[in-house]
Amino acid sequence: MNPRKDLLNIASLTDEEIHTLLESAAPMKELFTKSVKKVPALKGKSVLTLFYEPSTRTRSSFEVAAERLSADVTNFTVSTSSVVKGESVHDTIDTLQAMKVDYIIVRHYHSGLPDVIARHTKASVINAGDGAHAHPTQALLDSFTIKEVYPDTRGKRVLIVGDILHSRVARSTSMLMKRLGMEVAYLGPGSLVPKTQYTGIPCFSDFNEAFAWKPDVIYLLRVQKERQDAPFFPSSREYHKIYGVTEERLERISGEGMYIMHPGPVNRGVEICDLAMDYERCLINTQVENGIACRMSVLYHLTPKTQH
């Protein structure tokens, strides 16, 4: 793999890079079963997490990943009240540049903001989710998880259900899945699924149609209840009825041996019923575990410009 400074999206990765990142996540995961879970790969390096959006899971996942590679981890706490203007982001970049950190893991509610940070810092920037744009490490862990159950991913069908419009996960994960030879389709309310002419991804109007397509994996997206402007659907109850994995749908899913995935955190009773959380082919917890392995792989392979 040629030296790469940043991981901002899936589109900029070469096939070889995707292969390398996924391949080396497996030995990282093996480490977790050992009594000593640490390797000295990033000893002496500093990793900084810069989250402008509340997140516990992704942030901890990155922290654990960095610590298992023996890096020093700092949380840069951004008080949301002081970050109303774009100027302060630039000032923050200058501050970070002066701190000489090696890796910056950033999450921001604006699409494309990590690109700006990456352009203005020597540290490696890892996009941990930006607006509705990209979430590349989520995409890697999703595909890694599917590869564990289907070593040959070619021709496997993944149905992504829910709020595609605002989902960086849907964009990144569907792009990577397609590049690994999987077929992807969307299902969701008309107000939350962009037109197929823009996405290049077929879209079903209901679960019956989608089931007839014979998906191998049902990938549920988190419903964002906290949208402030005009609502995108009438109620969580109605959403669950039409687009949720209900107990009836779970029967069909389990009957046909489909897997269930979700990037978390889950809204029980909205995207998914309680029963489905305990379904044997529900991979949600595996995704969390694989997330650490894939993030270790990413940290391990990036080359900050701070080193030479």
């Binding site: 494309g112 690109d115 607006g131 960086r168």
Partner: protein, 423 residues
């Protein structure tokens, strides 16, 4: 007494080159090429193989002074205009303070009289402070030379206010400059809904919002008998609507920004903020429909929508960065490079949409090359080239996507107000 001789001048739309003798800014002789003696002339310019166009008039530029001098000033905007072949422009009222009363217009006119090397005509605000709430004082601004009332980039949300303002001014003979928009549909949008907006995760501004808005303002202007100038049309659908209403609505005119004729959403690439515009850049099919609209006269004018932004502001992420690109410096070379040279538009159409139509709208004298006329023209060299560097740009802001590019054609000389400006 200064005299200027332009030799071998091929005027756009004509077939035989002529010699033009100008004394004190007035064309005093026009004769067959080679027939005017050079001996007693102060300045001689040979325009062989070049084309002569009347000075262009840009109906839509943001000059930012007073108030936003970090972005642009009247002096730099006018120098940039002249450099792009433009000898007259209409300034948007979104300065600070805004141009919403006679005193502000007088101050602005005074600034222009001192600093500008082109003719600048101010627009006046539609509402006080551009706030969309109260009518501005139209008649007193009219007395100071304002012909078009507009809130710049903003479309009023309150239709009743607009309706009454139109009713009120229907007897004043002013023109409303409005952009078709439904603000509630486009408030949070950043670009055209497209493959690019999906990939970048940026919210889309539906074309139908502009089209519904365009039809709405046309219907209001018909109802009130007011003249309407539709600003920065950007979709093929809007062109259709304008074409439908054009014949039945005598006071209806429209403009398109030059960048909407040549760029699409794909130019945004990986968040290039120089391509963030209002309205957003759309599809190739829209480019084609808009060019066809200019060619068949549905759209009257091509404008620059010159919007200077500071380097810092454009370095921010796509959401925080302001919209707009500068366009004055490169205006005529871009028209030649992207439209005239590839035979998408003739020089006659360029003259019509960038000079005669905007001047007619504002009630200005048309530019003539006949003896006795004021000399106001551009010598354009199609064989030259314009290397767009920081030094090339006279505008104070450099937020043009052409920075670093080389455009075919070059503005050689501009003759305006008795002076010959050579570039």
């Amino acid at each position: 007494m200064s005299s200027i001789l332009i030799q071998n001048a091929l005027i756009a739309g004509e077939t035989t080159p002529v010699d033009l003798l100008i004394e004190d800014g007035i064309i005093v002789r026009k004769a067959l090429a080679g027939s005017i003696d050079t001996s007693s002339v102060d300045q001689v310019t040979d325009a062989n193989d070049k084309i002569i166009l009347p000075g262009l008039f840009d109906l839509h530029a943001h000059v930012c002074q007073p108030g936003y001098e970090a972005r642009e000033r009247i002096a730099t905007a006018s120098a940039a205009a002249l450099h792009g072949g433009i000898t007259g422009l209409m300034a948007m009222p979104d300065t600070n303070p805004v141009l919403d009363n006679a005193a502000q217009i007088s101050t602005f006119n005074e600034l222009c009289r001192h600093d500008s090397i082109v003719e600048i005509i101010p627009t006046g605000c539609l509402t006080k402070g551009c706030m969309g709430e109260e009518q501005a004082s139209y008649d007193s601004m009219r007395a100071k030379g304002v012909r078009i009332i507009t809130d710049g980039d903003k479309t009023p949300e309150n239709m009743l206010l607009l309706y009454r303002a139109m009713q009120y001014t229907s007897s004043l003979g002013m023109i409303f400059g409005l952009r078709g928009d439904v603000p509630s549909l486009t408030a949070k949008s950043l670009m055209h809904p497209s493959t690019t907006s999906y990939q970048l995760g940026l919210s889309g501004s539906p074309a139908c919002a502009e089209e519904i808005g365009t039809e709405t303002i046309i219907r209001l202007s018909q109802e009130t008998g007011n003249a309407l100038h539709v600003q920065t049309v950007s979709t093929g659908g809007s062109v259709e609507i304008l074409r439908r209403f054009k014949n039945e609505s005598s006071g209806l005119s429209s403009e398109v920004a030059l960048h909407h004729l040549i760029f699409t959403h794909e130019n945004v690439g990986q968040y290039d903020t120089n391509f963030k515009t209002l309205p957003p850049l759309r599809d190739t099919s829209d480019n084609e429909a808009l060019i066809a609209g200019v060619n068949d006269g549905t759209i009257d004018c091509i404008v620059s929508d010159h919007t200077p932004c500071t380097p810092f502001s454009k370095k921010q992420d796509f959401l925080d960065a302001p919209h707009g690109m500068t366009g004055l410096d490169t205006f005529l070379p871009v028209i030649y490079h992207y439209l005239v040279k590839p035979a998408k538009m003739t020089w006659e159409t360029v003259v019509k949409s960038c000079s005669s139509n905007p001047r007619r709208l504002l009630g200005l004298q048309p530019i003539s090359f006949e003896v006795g006329s004021v000399a106001n023209f551009v010598v354009f060299d199609p064989n030259g080239e314009s290397k767009v560097s920081n030094d090339f740009l006279r505008s104070r802001s450099k937020n043009t996507p052409f920075l670093g590019a080389t455009l075919d054609g070059k503005v050689d000389v501009v003759c305006f107000s008795g002076q010959l400006h050579s570039f």
